[in-house]
Symmetry: C2
Subunit: 614 residues, 2 copies
């Protein structure tokens, strides 16, 4: 295991973090390569041992992935997308036989399977600011202009996460707060095993790994690409299909009070994600976390690893993504040093994602989602899995299963609705990002300078009190006892201030972050609709040039109307959930804030009472 390697870049250890400073060109001995989180334990020529960022070392491992470590400059924020896509052939060698569709998504297996020991990490970012900012991940560009997605051009350079090079740092925020910006680490085998979803790079070719980000919905790109020869213009496949899918489950849309609505089940599905357990395989060489997922329907827990959630996400994206924005999973984290906090945070976010999926009538009633929640045994899971992967009613063909119980819409109305939703989701995206930006700053202040100041006020009172105590003047204690207590009160307030964001701001941020991810899926969803509308507008021309027949034109208009009903039902679902979510999170925030200030006031009243009335 111990091998000598060359240092590629200078690295300055942070004091107290077990890190080792190294200089470019220096040779160090790797003493432990299984630290995880992008760190390697190494020993220098003076015998000093400490952690060094893995990608600062020229590790000559027999893996094609380490090539990324030999680039000429340290990977930094903004250029990670330029790293070469991982060569998957290494993993394919171990992959079980699979259908062509499965060659892209082969991670959902429950059965023991050969796994890759010591899978090397992709290089991580190393930022100079120490990554003490838990919200920097959120790429809140509200102040800096439109988001990438809304500007309608794919960008691979967006990343705000800092891979805190501070393994046991003094920062009290969980690493897990780094949020869904941590997108470049696809190989986080310390916490889960290999995720073979590298197709984003190899197929869409638009931004590589970054396509998976919270606000970077890639639903349509992926789904459309699954139909060879299907042009990017989109929904023609459905609009002009000679024969719609037969035998598929039909999705009804009703006219509700608010307009078109999905058919909601009488009992809402829900589930609990809990009880994360560390499992291992390959004779203990590889470990992973397994979560217990218990639906309220069966009340029988099933176990799933992160990669199973990811498999489910891919299936939902393929099948429903054209009609329903499927938010990305909480991303894999680059760091896992605060193991418990990290697992807790991932679990919390997986729970949030599952809850949202359960709440959606179409998602929750889908066969693949039901399979995920209620499979009986491994055989059942495997069978269902293969079936789901063979499902051909995916992409825009989902519209073929939709049956709106209402008259067809006028194409002009269809377009107006689409534009309205487009404006709204764009505006909300801006609003959500503003809250994330402001909240991030507030978080920083509340956990940084503000409590420090209260602490200093507390210390100043106590110091003066202790001077007073030395006066030798009789009856001094009546003042100094009270003054010392007042000083201690301000120290308590300092602690309260620093801890408060986890109690309220955290949930406000999480909710808005979830919505940021969800809103990031809309541009793609809306693009399908816009493409459909454009096609219908061209109808006359297409008939005139005999590209389609007159009947096909009528069918197109009818089908685009179905698409519009779908969109409206989905928007109404979105609105009703949004109102519920924001009502809830605002109430929680204000309630916790009020309690916080009440507690401070109470403490101050107690401190005040210690003084002698004069």
């Amino acid at each position: 295991m111990a091998n000598k390697v060359q240092v590629l870049y200078d690295f300055s250890a942070e004091p107290g973090n077990n890190e080792l400073s190294v200089r470019e060109g220096e040779t160090v001995t790797v003493t432990n390569q299984n630290i995880g989180g992008g760190w390697i334990e190494a020993q220098n020529s003076r015998g000093e041992v400490g952690l060094v960022p893995e990608d600062y070392l020229e590790l000559s491992k027999p893996s094609p992935l380490t090539g990324a470590g030999t680039t000429t400059a340290p990977p930094s924020v903004g250029n990670v997308a330029a790293a070469p896509p991982p060569d998957l052939s290494f993993f394919d060698a171990f992959a079980p036989a699979s259908t062509p569709a499965q060659s892209q998504v082969d991670a959902g297996e429950l059965s023991p399977q050969p796994d890759t020991p010591d899978t090397p990490y992709l290089p991580h970012e190393q930022t100079s600011n120490g990554g003490g900012d838990p919200w920097s991940a959120w790429n809140t560009d509200a102040t800096g202009g439109a988001s990438n997605n809304w500007a309608s051009k794919p960008e691979g350079t967006q990343t705000g996460r800092s891979a805190a090079p501070d393994p046991w740092g003094a920062q009290s925020h969980p690493q897990a707060y780094q949020g869904p910006g941590a997108e470049e680490d696809e190989w986080d085998d310390e916490w889960d095993d290999v995720k073979s979803s590298g197709y984003a790079e190899s197929e869409s070719g638009e931004g590589g790994a970054f396509q998976r980000g919270g606000a970077q919905g890639t639903a349509m790109k992926i789904s459309l690409n699954k139909f060879p020869g299907f042009s990017k213009s989109g929904p023609e496949l459905y609009l002009l299909a000679k024969q719609l899918v037969k035998g598929s489950q039909k999705l009804s849309i009703y006219m509700g009070e608010v307009g078109p609505v999905w058919s909601y089940p009488d009992n809402q599905l829900d589930c609990v994600v809990a009880d994360p357990k560390k499992g291992s395989k390959m004779y203990g060489l590889k470990s992973y976390i397994e979560y217990q997922v218990t639906p309220n329907t069966t009340n029988r827990p099933v176990n799933h690893r992160y990669k199973h959630f990811d498999w489910l996400y891919e299936r939902l994206l393929d099948k429903l993504g054209s009609a329903i924005p499927i938010p990305s999973l909480p991303d894999k984290q680059v760091t896992g040093r605060f193991e418990e906090e990290f697992i807790k945070m991932r679990m919390e976010r997986l729970q949030g994602w599952m809850t949202r999926m359960c709440r959606h009538p179409v998602v929750s009633s889908s066969e693949v989602f039901q399979l995920f929640l209620t499979y009986k045994d491994e055989k059942d899971w495997k069978t269902g899995k293969r079936k789901a992967e063979k499902d051909e009613t995916v992409g825009v063909m989902i519209f073929a299963t939709i049956e709106p119980e209402a008259p067809d819409l006028d194409p002009i109305e269809v377009e107006q609705k689409c534009d309205q939703f487009s404006r709204f989701t764009k505006a909300m995206d801006d609003g959500v990002k503003e809250i994330l930006t402001v909240g991030q700053e507030h978080w920083k202040r509340c956990t940084g300078p503000l409590p420090k100041e209260y602490q200093r006020i507390g210390k100043a009172f106590q110091n003066l009190s202790s001077v007073f105590n030395s006066s030798g003047y009789q009856g001094e204690a009546t003042l100094t006892d009270a003054m010392t207590a007042a000083g201690k009160t301000y120290e308590e307030i300092a602690l309260m201030v620093a801890e408060q964001p986890r109690k309220d701001l955290h949930f406000l941020m999480e909710t808005n972050n979830e919505y940021k991810g969800l809103l990031g899926c809309f541009p793609d969803t809306l693009a399908v609709h816009k493409a459909g509308i454009e096609k219908v507008k061209e109808g006359d021309k297409l008939v005139a040039t005999s590209k389609i027949g007159p009947q096909e034109k009528v069918t197109m208009a009818k089908r685009v109307s179905t698409m519009s009903y779908t969109l409206q039902a989905e928007m109404n679902h979105f609105h009703s959930n949004r109102i519920y979510d924001y009502n809830r999170v605002m109430q929680l925030y204000l309630e916790e804030q009020a309690k916080f200030y009440e507690t401070i006031a109470e403490k101050l009243r107690q401190a005040h009472a210690q003084f002698t009335t004069m």
Copy 2:
């Protein structure tokens, strides 16, 4: 009045402040020279009119003082002391005939007297940071080492005040908060008329105008200098006096529970400083502010201008300063643009000073203090004034009037007590400065970034709410009305946060600032005692070398014991007042802080109640 002048230095106008940007070498026309506060209204060649700092212009006024405006660089913080001392001959020409003693202190006249029209200002500092910091005046060097005074060397370069070049700026703090650091402006005739106490420069020669600063007690230097030939070593004059002052009022010291104490009157003197009125003289060419001072003994108001307070201060310093630390008056302010705020602040500080003087049994019973509070008419005032100025029981001779009703103290005990007080006052000085430093930072945060952040949170909520309102979704208002209200609540909280320091921190700062000034007088007072102790220690040697006789040695020991009783009585007075003051201000602070947080909590509860329970 309108004359063309050259611009000496570049000046950039702050937007919204009626200022005019000028370039070095440019010629402007002075349109109004009576703006005050160091500003001149001028018009440039493009016809634009605005304010320019006076000392940025080469004003060719026929006054010897304007020479300061032609120095080669703009006066800046730290080099003001280098400005030439004002030539007083200009004013002497107008001064009424006076005794030799009065030639130093000629400002205390009530009778109409010729005054100097348009007395030019001394150059003011112009700081680049805009002077938005109200506490910067306080020279809180707790973190930067010992204060000047405690380090036992006079320094003339100490000044932290910034003469805010922002006449109507957005800063909401009163200029008056600039505090007693504003020491270089002796000629503030906008708010009071000329103060002819320029002797600090011409006589003590130690730091000039800066000797008058809050923490710069100069009691002894001034008093000792009044006895020609009296060496700086100090208290010999008293210790070796052949005959003690006769006919003087005797000051008794009793043994109380806490040790030696002054004799306190049955009814404590108090007074109210109120009702500031603008007066004018010289046919309206000069204006000043007159305050009404009403003692609780006569309940009859008397009028005094700032310069009368200053005259009183000088008399008390001369007469009692060796035994009793006489805190400096609140200093004249360089800026008076917020006229009302400034007057209010000066009045508040004059009130604080008078209250402290009233509380002191020796000061309050002194003839000169009684004269100040209870003179019947101008003739009465004038007569009393001349008498006070002729008083010869000043400086260390005050000890000759003290009669402790207790046995003589052992010189070793005397020295121990003195050292103890020295340690205590030094330690308290550090503690007080720490509070001022921390408080100043807290003030800045509470009036700067913190409310801005709450405002942004409020705006973010309201913006998102307004986006939600545009959804067109039915029942949206149940959420958006509440969310908008929550946003407005955070805007209200922002205002509250910004205004709170005036309601609590202000008094904490004022009290500590007062104590900083008072503590700054102790080194000089203690130095007199230490010199006395040293003299007594030398007793045997002095007898051996026949410099004194054996009886004189005994007298010295007895008298140094009297001095020690005086110091102890004064320290006990200080301690009892200190305990009272800090008890009071801490209670006020905690009470207001508790109320503040309670109000915030209440507002948040109200905002919370607007949301629909789900």
